[in-house]
Amino acid sequence: MSEKGEVDLTGAKQNTGVWLVKVPKYLSQQWAKASGRGEVGKLRIVKNQGKAEVSFTLNEELTAIDCVGEKASSVRAPRDHPFTMQTVGGQTLAVFTENPSGQSEDRSDGSAPDKLVLEGVVVQRAECRPAVSENYMQLKRLQIEESSKPVRLSQQLEKPVTTNYKPVSNHTYNVEYEKKKKEEGKRARGDKQQVLDMLFSAFEKHQYYNIKDLVDITKQPVTFLKEILHDIGIYNVKGTHKNTWELRPEYRHYQGEEKSD
């Protein structure tokens, strides 16, 4: 098994030559529909006095185009596609493949190490063009029609929408909120010691707290809580932890901080 990152260079060494062919979208869609072994058509190469003419003929069964919308498959894909050959130029184009190994072990980075194989080098570039035909024109027209449709559509409604924003005497959310508040009642001052314990345990978890959060945690009235906090803590006005309370240095013993007292 190859190490992660190792690239298999067999293709490069053998100087495997491949062709890079640009294919129209509709054709690739048709190819995707191929069945069986995946035969999609035939490639004919004619060497005519030194010049090579390449053309591709789509298989019959693949010419049926699935149209979205009303039209039946009256439009057929053209079958003949001559290739326009081009040179690679100075550029070096290599082809490598990633093969997700799909191993059972889970990895933290989410992907198993892929096998990287250098398949070969591009020796010829080509463009697959459809031979101009009536079929093709119709196909194109269809495409244009589809793409020219606006993504958003304005629709006129006969009746106004009445389902939202009815006037309400009291919103449901509000009602619930008030009920919750009532049953909770005013916060009562608990035992000071208990409150202190709660505070200390809270400050063990985090160093900085907002007064609101502390009120939430301890369920004490604000003023009472503030008094207690004045005793044991300090209020940060400036700095990164703005408007937060923290324990006084003598009370805290966080790890990583210097132990004081």
Binding site: W19, L20, G38, E98
Partner: protein
């Protein structure tokens, strides 16, 4: 596969297959033509995703829980981001660049960045020929452009900017990277760093730094009319410091300061004979400096006189700074290749490690004119003036450096300090009010001429503040003769620390003295100046 024979043309037909079952994803690795990449020469290659763009969740969050953390911080941060509409792009592994290392450690490295928009409108297929003659077409899922990574060290943007500024000066370009490497090695040593750059510049820089410091303190002592000068001067100083240009600029800046000084001080005493005998080196490139010098001299002259006393009364630090200042000035002038006698003096001065405060009196006598070239304000002219006022008076000795023996002190300042103290303590200075230092000074007048204002200044300082300590009519008269001064300036001269009087007392005494003297008044810069003509 059928082959049809036809005249002078042959055609072959191949079946094209598009395999469906493959898991392999085909990608294109594109290299630039100029990089001359030949894949067949690769012995070994490794390729990995470049994960450097991945930001871990709690990147900024240093601590999870306990010290340093806030309650509900994460939620608050998230809410804040939503409020501002900050959308962080998701980190997708498939879109990350590749790092390709060919032939191991010593080989080439490439970075492959994904090219967008490849599969949007058209699809690329790779046609490979199978052993059975059929073609197989595989769709290309991504296109990566691979660019070679430089293995050599490069300059950062800032460094590059620097070097660009120096491109006309630096001849040896190879040394640039070498110096950078050296610099990195000795990163902790700041001096080293500076030393890497042109040696001269280092000194200059250091001095300029000192220069800035000097001026800071000098400001306190300067006359009210000089205030603008000092600020200008500082600017002028800092600007040259920033530039890596030759001292020229620095000097130019300083000179501008002086120039402006002369402009703003309308009533600068300038005797006609001051510029006689000025030795100007017309061959030097910095001609402007020549022009500036005379002007510089003028403000120097005027200010020097009172300044001398100031120096005497002020701390020793100043003289030290002045020393540095002078040295810097020396450097600058040296670099400009001026050949005025002043420079020679300066050179000499520089040579002598200690600031021998051999009196500059001889200098003045010998070349009152060349003295005018002194870079520093506290220059001989002051001395000259002092001379005139008379022997026993401080002024006479003031300009003269408290000719402390060269051997006596390693730092003139120390001597100055001791002298000051002695002066203070002495109730009845022998023979005159002048403290021993002064006497020494006068005695050893004919000492090495290699003096500069520093020593002067030091000497000035060592000039016993005992004389300054007493706010006498004599002193005030002397000041007013020399130069028109405002009451504020006069008060500055007689600082309460030295005179031993409280500020109120000082004011009273000074007022009485002024009444007695009845000086003439003149309005300069909207301020009432007093002066006496003798």
């Amino acid at each position: 596969m059928t082959s049809l024979g036809s005249s002078s043309s042959s055609s072959m037909e191949y079946i094209v297959r598009v395999p469906k079952n493959t898991n392999k994803r085909y990608n294109i690795m594109a290299f630039n033509a100029g990089d001359k990449v030949n894949c067949s020469t690769w012995a070994q290659a490794r390729m990995e995703r470049d994960m450097s763009n991945r930001r871990m969740y709690g990147e900024e969050e240093v601590v999870e829980g306990a010290a340093g953390s806030e309650f509900g911080k994460k939620q608050r941060e998230e809410a804040r981001r939503k409020k501002f509409g900050i959308v962080t792009r998701e980190f997708r592994v498939e879109d990350q660049p590749w790092i390709l290392k060919v032939n191991g450690k010593a080989g080439r490295r490439f970075k492959g960045q994904k090219k967008g928009g490849v599969t949007e409108n058209a699809s690329y297929y790779i046609f490979t020929q199978c052993p059975d003659g059929a073609f197989e077409a595989f769709p290309v899922s991504a296109w990566y452009n691979f660019t070679p990574l430089a293995k050599h060290r490069t300059l950062t943007a800032e460094e590059a900017e620097e070097e660009w500024g120096r491109r006309n000066k630096v001849v040896n370009h190879f040394s640039i990277m070498l110096q950078r490497r050296l610099r990195e090695q000795e990163r902790g040593d700041d001096d080293e760093e500076e030393g890497e750059k042109a040696g001269k510049k280092k000194k200059k820089k250091g001095d300029k730094g000192g220069d800035l410091r000097i001026h800071d303190l000098e400001d306190d002592l300067e006359m009210s009319s000089d205030d603008s000068d000092s600020s200008v001067g500082e600017d002028g100083e800092s600007k040259p410091k920033a530039k890596k240009e030759a001292a020229k600029k620095g000097k130019g800046g300083k000179k501008k300061k002086k120039k402006k000084g002369s402009d703003s001080e309308a009533m600068e005493d300038s005797d006609d004979g001051d510029f006689e005998g000025l030795e100007v080196d017309y061959m030097s490139d910095d001609s402007s400096s020549d022009e500036d010098e005379p002007e510089k001299v003028k403000p120097n002259k005027g200010e020097d006189v009172p300044k001398g006393i100031d120096e005497a009364s002020e701390s020793e630090e100043e003289s030290e700074e002045e020393k540095q200042n002078e040295e810097e000035g020396k450097d600058e002038e040296d670099e400009e290749g001026k050949k005025t006698p002043v420079q020679q003096e300066k050179k000499k001065r520089r040579d002598s490690s200690e600031e021998s405060e051999s009196s500059e009196d001889s200098d003045i006598e010998g070349r009152a004119d060349s003295a005018l070239f002194m870079v520093k304000k506290r220059t001989p002219p002051k001395r000259g003036g002092g001379r005139g006022s008379g022997g026993s008076s401080r002024t006479g000795s003031r300009p003269g450096t408290p000719s402390i023996d060269t051997a006596s002190t390693s730092s003139t300042l120390r001597a100055a300090a001791t002298k000051l103290e002695q002066g203070k303590r002495q109730t009845a200075p022998p023979s005159s009010d002048t403290p021993p230092a002064k006497r020494l000074k006068m005695a050893s007048n004919p000492q090495s001429p290699a003096e500069k204002s520093v020593q002067q200044a030091a000497s000035g300082k060592s000039t016993p503040s005992s004389s300054d300590v007493q706010l006498t009519e004599e002193a005030v008269r002397r000041y007013l003769i020399r130069k028109p001064m405002t009451t504020k300036d006069l008060l500055k001269k007689f600082q309460t620390k030295r005179t031993g009087l409280s500020s109120e007392q000082t004011v009273n005494v000074l007022a009485q003295i002024l009444k007695r003297l009845n000086p003439e008044r003149k309005n300069i810069n909207d301020k009432m100046h007093f002066y006496l003509t003798e």
